[in-house]
Amino acid sequence: MSQQAVNGVSCRGKVLTVENMNPNVKRVEYAVRGPIVQRAVQIEKELREGVKKPFTEVIKANIGDAQAMGQRPITFFRQVLVLCSYPELLEDNKFPEDAKKRARRILDACGGHSIGAYSASQGIECIRQDVARYIERRDGGIPSNPDNIYLSTGASDAIVTILKLLVCGEGRDRTGVMISIPQYPLYSAALADLAAVQINYYLDEDNCWSLNVAELKRALNEAKQHCKPRVLCIINPGNPTGQVQSRQCIEDVIQFAKEEHLFLMADEVYQDNVYAEGCKFHSFKKVLFEMGPEYSSTVEMASFHSTSKCYMGECGFRGGYMEVINMDPEVKAQLTKLVSVRLCPPVPGQALLDLVVNPPQPDEPSYTLFTKERTAVLATLAEKARLTEEIFNEVPGITCNPVQGAMYTFPRITLPQKAIDKAKAEGKVPDMFYCMKLLEEEGICLVPGSGFGQKDGTFHFRMTILPPTEKLKVVLQKIRDFHLRFTNEFS
């Protein structure tokens, strides 16, 4: 190709142009890997090339990637996975029997006894059965049908698939999807892509980011004027806010969904990440069924889980599932057809999911080590959550709600008017301006609150609590120092 083509100078006569491309794609943005991360990657490159900076490394506290920040994988899981990948090791007596047993079972369920074969589109059957049993145990015995379980390429794949199914209609009948503000921007990206109408309901920052039905009602009623609301998305434990919904709140949401005839999407990928005293994870399905048959036989719902978070942190495997409840059988047939297009979810991710729902039992050799590792990971996260809240709240101009769960903190920052003006002059959103400056001066990469949504006139950032404790302390101190400097500079 000529240099012209490489530089893209010769653009005459293109078939695919910005004017005629799918207009929805233009609206897709994903702040978690957006412009600030691109700049961070550039800075890393400059550091490698020997450019002098006030810091020696970029700390990427933008993405919920535990192992990238040094968290070790669970030994048992990696043992089973390596046995599945290289079955010759089944002869090696360095691996425990319970790992071998699970590996053999998984390989038996794979075509040609290989994780390299395609699986059924919905996922390997015995793994779906194991997932159903896990859900039953988790939810105190409420039945789960394996046919309602769809394994997926991470939870994101399942979430986008369901949204595809649900979005329809033209103009004023276009599907409206209710999503919390602040929200995880995969949702807004998917809604933009599908040209669905995004209906924002605000979480209450002054009350620990709690959800009010009154606010849901307000948002819904306003939206009814220009779209057809059909879906209510809720992330519990929350991302980016970390709030863990109370049981009462979940009941209220279910009640609301029933009254307003909404499909519930319950994103529960952080279900093991609960730290605060008095907080407990209640699955939407469990609460739904405990509310009695009037609800449990009518409210339509999908709940999502993943192998990327909790104590596993195995983001790179792209493992996940969704359970659909009370879905119309004809729609379910369409869903089954839709998932067949991407052929099947990655088999190693399916295998990993099988281990998550089928961990070592007390009578098995790997139990002690497994439990030790799991407890340590969750305890460390809990400690980091507490530490983060404590240190941030000591800084004038930063207010931090308790990190009740998940992996993030979403503190509110007060920005001086001069800073806001300067940002606007540079064509930047004020919290992006703040975060960019922090990146350039301290080498810390956060995501500005504008990427998640926030009340007008307020500013936030999202930071993960994943760096190792000592490093986290340093990061928190640097942010504190930066904030004070910033406030001074623009006062």
Binding site: A5, P23, V82, G111, G112, A117, K337, P346
Partner: protein, 505 residues
């Protein structure tokens, strides 16, 4: 989709056979424990009687499923080198000690360094691990005789179908709100996932027919006919090509590819080149030429302007690692402003890391001098010998009422079956005739093929498709069962025809 009917029945039969095996085993153990038998002969007679009294009477013990392009499922063993590298990446403790060869360790260590936190459990960059993208671009450069390949134009994705439809190219091309709707030219036959994806995106599939009698050749006249058929129906913006073919086993010539490119340039079509079988070429006269290379060889101005997306994967070829879900797309000559948006689209994605490791091995296999090279060479040779496409097509052509074009590449045979009219009549009551044939083949011979209906075919013709990337003995068994079944089937529907004709006279 009729395939689901076959698939469900296959699972049922597999389950029935599993039950039989379990019963067989249980009875054997129980009776052996009783030690009532003087010899093994009495025991086997008893088992036989038990089984037949249960009413399960199948002439086969196992279903052979070759309906998918899935070598591992068909019995081909994975490449040791890649599995060892995967193992070392998953469980680095394995690298202590001497179990693994030096080149395996070096590769694993190099790849782990490219992963955040040194773990395959962390997210990779949205477009893929940069060092692996670099390896892919060097592979493409070598493959295409030195034509430049720029890493920023490469995206690694969870499978080639994902790149094409779920995240990427078709989504950008297809404007579901446009009127008239976006059209995409697709070959007949074509694998069904593409057609489903197109319709899901709100696009219109515009078929162009490959010429079966001329070895499934793509003739530019049929492309023009397709465009003409689209007038007033939709606005065609893209031309989807599969080379080497799937399910038909053709490999396009350089001349053909250049004609297609000229056509696309003239008619302002975006080229989508599905080249996932580029490593599966075995026809003696055949050579894989990438669309990118052919485009570059045409020269300016076309080489600077014709927009092209080409797709490859770790699921086919030597690797056959379908379950790992990894492929890539290379975008050529796209408008940089559009590329920015494609970048954004990709940012919500993350490709499985293990698959990327496999991809690295695929584009960068062991070289002469590496400790793992001898074994790699041996396996490579073995895999190429099992896809002796020509031998298979000769055998198939020897069956009466079968006609199979010469197999030059890809993973499938797609012979035409001339079904007797009575069979067609009987089928039409419930299933397409070729699905009916496949269903009977499954029930009576325990072999699962895919019916031509799934892929599209000329009206009034019937085909079956099956994967030929199977171990030699499996292939022999398949052909043996097919031969027996086919003779019986033909006898039934030709004799049946004659019998009923005699009765009615």
């Amino acid at each position: 989709m009729e395939y689901f009917v076959l698939f469900r029945r296959t699972n049922q039969i597999k389950e029935e056979l599993r039950q039989v095996k379990r019963r067989h085993y249980t009875i054997a153990i129980r009776e052996w424990k009783k030690k009532k038998f003087k010899n093994i002969h009495c025991l086997s007679v008893l088992i036989f009687l038990c089984l037949n009294s249960q009413g399960v009477r199948k002439s086969y013990r196992e279903v052979i499923d070759v309906s998918w392009g899935d070598p591992h499922r068909a019995g081909v063993k994975p490449l040791s080198f890649v599995r060892q590298v995967l193992a070392a990446c998953l469980y680095p403790q394995l690298m202590d000690g001497d179990k693994l060869m030096v080149d395996v360790k070096q590769r694993a260590q190099r790849l782990l360094k490219t992963c955040a936190g040194g773990s395959v459990g962390s997210y990779s960059d949205a477009a893929g691990i940069p060092q692996i993208i670099q390896s892919v671009s060097e592979y493409i450069l070598r493959r295409d005789g030195g034509i430049p390949c720029h890493p920023e134009n490469i995206y690694i994705t969870p499978g080639s179908q994902w790149a094409l439809t779920v995240t990427n190219i078709l989504k950008v091309l297809v404007n579901s709100e446009a009127s008239p709707r976006t059209g995409v030219l697709i070959p007949v036959p074509c694998h069904s996932t593409t057609i489903v994806s197109l319709t899901a995106l709100g696009a219109v599939a515009v078929p162009y027919y490959l010429s079966e009698e001329r070895g499934w050749a793509l003739e530019v006249e049929t492309l023009q006919q397709a465009l003409d058929s689209a007038k007033g129906v939709c606005n065609p913006v893209a031309l989807y090509i599969i080379n080497p073919g799937n399910p038909a086993g053709y490999v396009q010539s350089r001349k053909c590819i250049q004609e297609v490119i000229h056509f696309a340039a003239e008619k302002k079509l975006f080229l989508l080149a599905d080249e996932v079988y580029q490593d599966c070429v075995y026809g003696k006269e055949s050579e894989f030429v990438s669309y990118k290379r052919a485009l570059a060889e045409i020269g300016a101005p076309l080489s600077d302007t014709v927009e092209l997306a080409s797709f490859h994967t770790a699921s086919k070829g030597l690797m056959g690692e379908c379950g790992l879900r990894t492929g890539y797309v290379e975008l050529v000559n796209l408008d940089p402003a559009v590329m920015k948006y494609i970048n954004n689209l990709f940012s919500t994605n993350s490709c499985p890391v293990l698959g990327q490791v496999a991809l690295d091995v695929m584009v960068n296999p062991p070289q002469p001098g590496d400790p793992s090279y001898p074994l790699y060479l041996k396996v490579r040779h073995f895999l190429f010998t099992i896809t002796t496409g020509d031998a298979n097509s000769l055998i198939i052509n020897s069956f009466p009422s079968f006609s199979c074009q010469s197999l030059e590449g890809g993973a499938f045979a797609f012979p035409r079956v001339f079904l007797p009219p009575k069979a067609i009549e009987k089928a039409k009551a419930g299933l397409q005739p070729d699905t009916f044939y496949c269903m009977r083949l499954l029930e009576e011979a325990g072999v699962l093929f895919s019916p031509g209906t799934e892929y599209g075919q000329m009206e009034g013709t019937y085909h079956i498709s099956f994967c030929i990337m199977t171990p030699t003995d499996t292939m022999e068994e398949i052909l043996k069962r097919l031969s027996t079944f086919h003779k019986q089937f033909m006898r039934e529907f030709i004799l049946f025809a004659s019998a009923t004709e005699r009765e009615t006279k």
